[in-house]
């Protein structure tokens, strides 16, 4: 049995210790918002947060995630109210949408570290693949979310 904390909830899963976190999330816990795209840490569709750090769950043995705080897209907000999700809707970013949950998880991690990212910051942090080619809107949405939180911070003093 391996104990996992996913989106604040404790789970105890009976899986082999080298099973990749992605498949535990998708197949054992039914959290299908995290996607399979390549299985080789190449595309980022499977991005989740481990103690706030973005990781590619398709190559992460579940044993390494045990005891850490795992956040998936389902844990970001259930109603799409996270500022990045709102910016994503405002810019109508997704096309097919398959890569987008991973994109958003990468962007969330970036904004945590760099609330006002430059284009270069975005280039370095958001290395996920979008086959539909939504990159221009992704960039714009990240800047919008950053500006919003910047002005909120300003208002709060």
């Amino acid at each position: 049995m391996i104990s996992l904390t996913v989106n604040g909830t404790e789970h105890s899963v009976d899986v082999s210790s080298d099973m990749r976190l992605l498949w535990v999330l998708r197949d054992i816990l039914g959290l299908t918002g995290t996607k399979f795209g390549c299985g080789m840490s190449l595309c980022g569709a499977c991005t989740v947060h481990l103690d706030g750090e973005p990781v590619r769950s398709c190559v992460m043995p579940v044993s390494i995630a045990a005891g850490k705080k795992i956040t998936t897209i389902e844990g970001l907000s259930t109603d799409g109210s996270h500022p990045l999700q709102q910016a994503w809707v405002a810019h109508q970013v997704p096309q097919c949408g398959y890569c987008q949950t991973g994109m958003i998880m990468s962007a969330v991690a970036l904004l945590k570290k760099k609330p006002q990212p430059t284009d270069t910051d975005i280039n370095e942090a958001v290395t996920n693949i979008c086959r539909c080619g939504t990159y221009t809107r992704i960039r714009a949405a990240i800047h919008t979310a950053a500006e919003k939180s910047g002005s909120n911070n300003g208002m709060k003093g």
Binding site: V15, S16, M19, R20, W23, V24, R26, D27, I28, G30, L31, T32, G33, T34, K35, F36, G37, C38, G39, M40, L42, C43, A45, T72, I73, E74, L76, S77, G80, Q85, W88, V89, Q92, V93, P94, Q95, C96, G97, Y98, C99, Q100, T101, I104, I122, N123, E124, V126, T127, N128, I129, C130, R131, C132, G133, T134, Y135, T136, R137, I138, R139
Partner: protein, 726 residues
């Protein structure tokens, strides 16, 4: 461990039927069950006012979508077509997929469920607008009848019907039940496009909110009680077959349920997770019979194409004037060979299908571009009447043509499910299976020749295409006198006026399975043509934009010319650029639309290419949702430039050499140039949108590289070229 023997019958079926769409034409019965028996429970609470519109008493409007959303926005754009004529409150509209089984029971009442060829909007617009107008008339009539007034005194607007003389009002929801009982008017008048209020205005897409929360369930996200997972290994060499597997070797691995051998593949079914199935198939000792193509390589294929170039004669796709005398009197002759490689689609959601077989019915969930064909393939594979098949419609994680005609993953999943009745099985292809068992954009080698007279005017143009045909196998009626009529587009229908033209097509089919890749012939052929036109412009000592203009002066070419002009102007074609940055231009019509692009790029001393700016424009006639058009063009820039920069599937020992995104590289955000999309809809026609944006990108980029380096790129991808200035 049980081993499932393949049945002879299914083998024959499999061999005979390459594409789902093809099957459709031979196996689907027309309506088999009386429509009246099938009144859905929904109809009682949401009366159906035409097949496309359901209206609830609370005024919620449900508009059915027959085609499938794979990122292009038709789940919103198609309802807009209905809603425009319905005169409903758009904020109360919801989109819902039309049921495939209902479609079949009701004599194909939703027309077609095929999604491809940039056809959703342009091929549905008339019947959907007509349905909206009919529904509005029915609702208005119902209100008029309730009031006992002439219909002519009533108008519908924003989901309300008003009796103009008395200003009485009824909502759509209040009269929907009565409206549903009326006859559907056949030819209701449609609005003048000038009066549209919804069409042509950007609308937020219905599918987007759930795509940012992870709630959207793609086929791969299907979760059913007791579901088993399946992973597949297919014979690496196309046309090979399975010899044997040592199933005992993996019998004790975690979760393994069974091994199912197919003719050219083997499947492991496992409990708990796809991870288990995937671990087991990787450990499974498999012996293949590679068949007769194990010696084929990209080199041998190129040689085969060269023979096609050298053939003395080939079927003619276009002939005008007298080539020989034009060439004889030429002041300048230009000749060049161009090449484009195989490409794989790499839909972000890998191929997959979930199937549940019971003695009563078969249910499938698949990312397929044609649910009607999915039903046909399922029925045939399961050997049940199609009336016992339910295809659950889901949004696709990308399509790009991969999953229209070719849905072998459905066939595979249904075959596996049939071996375990009552247990749902989810088959997922690994990315490696996806890249190595695609339906590839065909290889093509093209030789072009042109003559210029002493004034630098082009007088003659010949083209010899040596290309693999996508359709010779799956759509033989598209082959006319040896010419694949889709494969010759861009050349045979080129709008340029050369007084003398001669074009030939040498079909060169290899064992590598071809398929319609986004834009089909309008990806490689425009690269060939628009690069060559650039060569002519330079040979004639003319500006490449102006040179094209002079060749586009006929009335038939007026829309090509207009979009070329619009894009050149938006890009500031004649304006100075920063040091080292250069421009390239290209124009192309395809799928009933007109596109052009200007790309700004630079190449540094070490040969490193930087993309600075892309201006791409489209005239698609009328526009349903302009923001979706914009998004499709933006997406085309990435899809098209990824192919130009990196895209290449190579063959060694009969098999694909690439396997995942490390060796089949995709553009990422860091490589993005500034992208400016120019919408120039001129009205009067409906053109496609999903594919046309692809056409001008590769040539515009390669023409910019020529301007920057003096190097003419005659084969793709660019990663194979040394771009250091000569």
């Amino acid at each position: 461990m049980p081993m499932q023997q393949m049945s002879r019958r299914s083998f024959l079926l499999r061999s005979a039927a390459v594409g789902g769409g093809l099957l459709l034409e031979v196996t689907l019965p027309k309506s088999s069950v009386a429509e009246t028996e099938q009144a859905s429970a929904q109809a009682e609470t949401s009366p159906e006012v035409t097949a496309w519109v359901l209206i609830r008493p609370d005024d919620t409007i449900i508009i059915r979508v027959a085609r499938v959303e794979m990122g292009q926005g038709n789940f919103t754009g198609l309802p807009m077509l209905v809603a425009e004529e319905l005169a409903c409150d758009w904020s109360k509209v919801q989109a819902e997929y039309a049921s495939t089984s209902e479609h079949l029971r009701r004599n194909r009442i939703f027309q077609t469920m095929l999604t491809g060829g940039s056809r959703s909007i342009r091929d549905s617009q008339e019947y959907l607008r007509t349905a909206g107008a009919a529904a509005r008339l029915m609702l208005t009539t119902a209100a008029a009848q309730r009031w006992g007034v002439p219909v002519a005194e009533c108008v519908a607007e924003n989901s309300l019907i008003t009796h103009t003389p008395t200003q009485r009002q009824l909502s759509f929801g209040a009269v929907a039940a009565e409206a549903a009982t009326l006859d559907i008017p056949e030819n209701p008048p449609l609005k003048d496009p000038a009066a549209w209020t919804l069409l042509g205005q950007p609308a937020a897409r219905f599918d987007i909110p759930d795509k940012v929360t992870g709630k959207t369930a793609f086929a791969i996200d299907t979760r059913l009680p007791g579901m088993a997972y399946a992973s597949i290994a297919q014979c690496p060499v196309f046309g090979g077959s399975l010899k044997s597997v040592d199933a005992e070797k993996i019998a004790d691995m975690r979760g393994v349920v069974k091994v199912v051998p197919l003719e050219d593949a083997v499947v492991v079914v496992a409990k708990e997770s796809w991870w288990n199935a995937q671990q087991a198939i990787r450990a499974l000792p498999i012996e293949w019979d590679f068949g007769e193509h194990a010696h084929v390589s990209s080199d041998s294929i190129l040689e085969f194409l060269r023979e096609g170039i050298q053939l003395e004669k080939a079927p003619v796709s276009r002939h005008e004037g007298d080539i020989d005398s034009a060439f004889a009197s030429a002041a300048t002759m230009i000749e060049a060979d161009y090449y484009a490689p195989y490409l794989e689609h790499a839909t972000m959601e890998p191929q997959n299908c979930t199937a549940l077989y019971t003695d009563k019915r078969v249910d499938v969930w698949a990312p397929a571009q044609n649910s009607e064909a999915t039903a046909a393939v399922t029925a045939e594979t399961a050997d049940v009447p199609v009336s016992r098949v339910e295809v659950h419609k889901v949004h696709l994680g990308g399509g790009f043509g991969r999953r229209g005609l070719h849905i072998e993953f459905v066939r595979q999943a249904v075959r596996i499910a049939k071996t375990m009745p009552g247990t749902p099985v989810q088959l997922i292809w690994s990315r490696e299976e996806d890249i190595q068992h695609g339906r590839y954009r065909p290889v093509a080698l093209v030789r072009m020749r042109a003559a210029l007279n002493a004034a630098g005017e082009p007088t003659a143009w010949t083209v010899r295409q040596a290309e693999q045909s996508i359709f010779s196998e799956v759509r033989p009626h598209l082959i006319r006198d040896g010419v694949d009529i889709v494969g010759v587009r861009t050349f045979a229908d080129a709008p340029y006026t050369f007084p003398n033209m001669h074009m030939e097509y040498a079909m060169r089919n290899t064992h590598v399975p071809p398929g319609p890749w986004r834009a089909v012939a309008h990806t490689h052929n425009p690269f060939f043509r628009e690069s060559f036109i650039d060569e002519l412009a330079h040979a004639a000592g003319q500006d490449p934009y102006q040179f094209r203009r002079t060749l586009l002066q006929t009335p038939q070419a007026s829309k090509d010319l207009a979009i070329l002009d619009a894009v050149a102007e938006a890009a500031g074609w004649d304006s100075p650029l920063p040091e080292g940055v250069h421009r390239g231009i290209a124009v192309q019509d395809s799928y009933g639309s007109y596109t052009a692009a200007v790309i700004e790029a630079s190449v540094n001393g070490t040969g490193e290419l930087t993309l600075h700016r892309v201006v791409v424009g489209i005239d698609c006639g009328y526009v349903a949702n302009p923001d979706s058009v914009r998004a499709q063009l933006e997406g085309s820039v990435v899809y098209g430039l990824t192919a130009a920069l990196y895209g290449e599937i190579t063959i060694k020992e009969g098999r694909v050499e690439q396997s995942n995104f490390h060796d089949y590289r995709m553009m990422r955000i860091a490589e993005m140039p500034t992208v400016e999309v120019l919408l120039k809809p001129t009205g009067g026609f409906w053109g496609g949108v999903g594919e046309p944006g692809m056409a001008p990108l590769a040539p515009a980029l390669c023409n910019a590289i020529f301007a920057a380096t003096g190097k003419r790129i005659r084969s793709l991808p660019l990663k194979n070229h040394d771009l250091r200035p000569a």
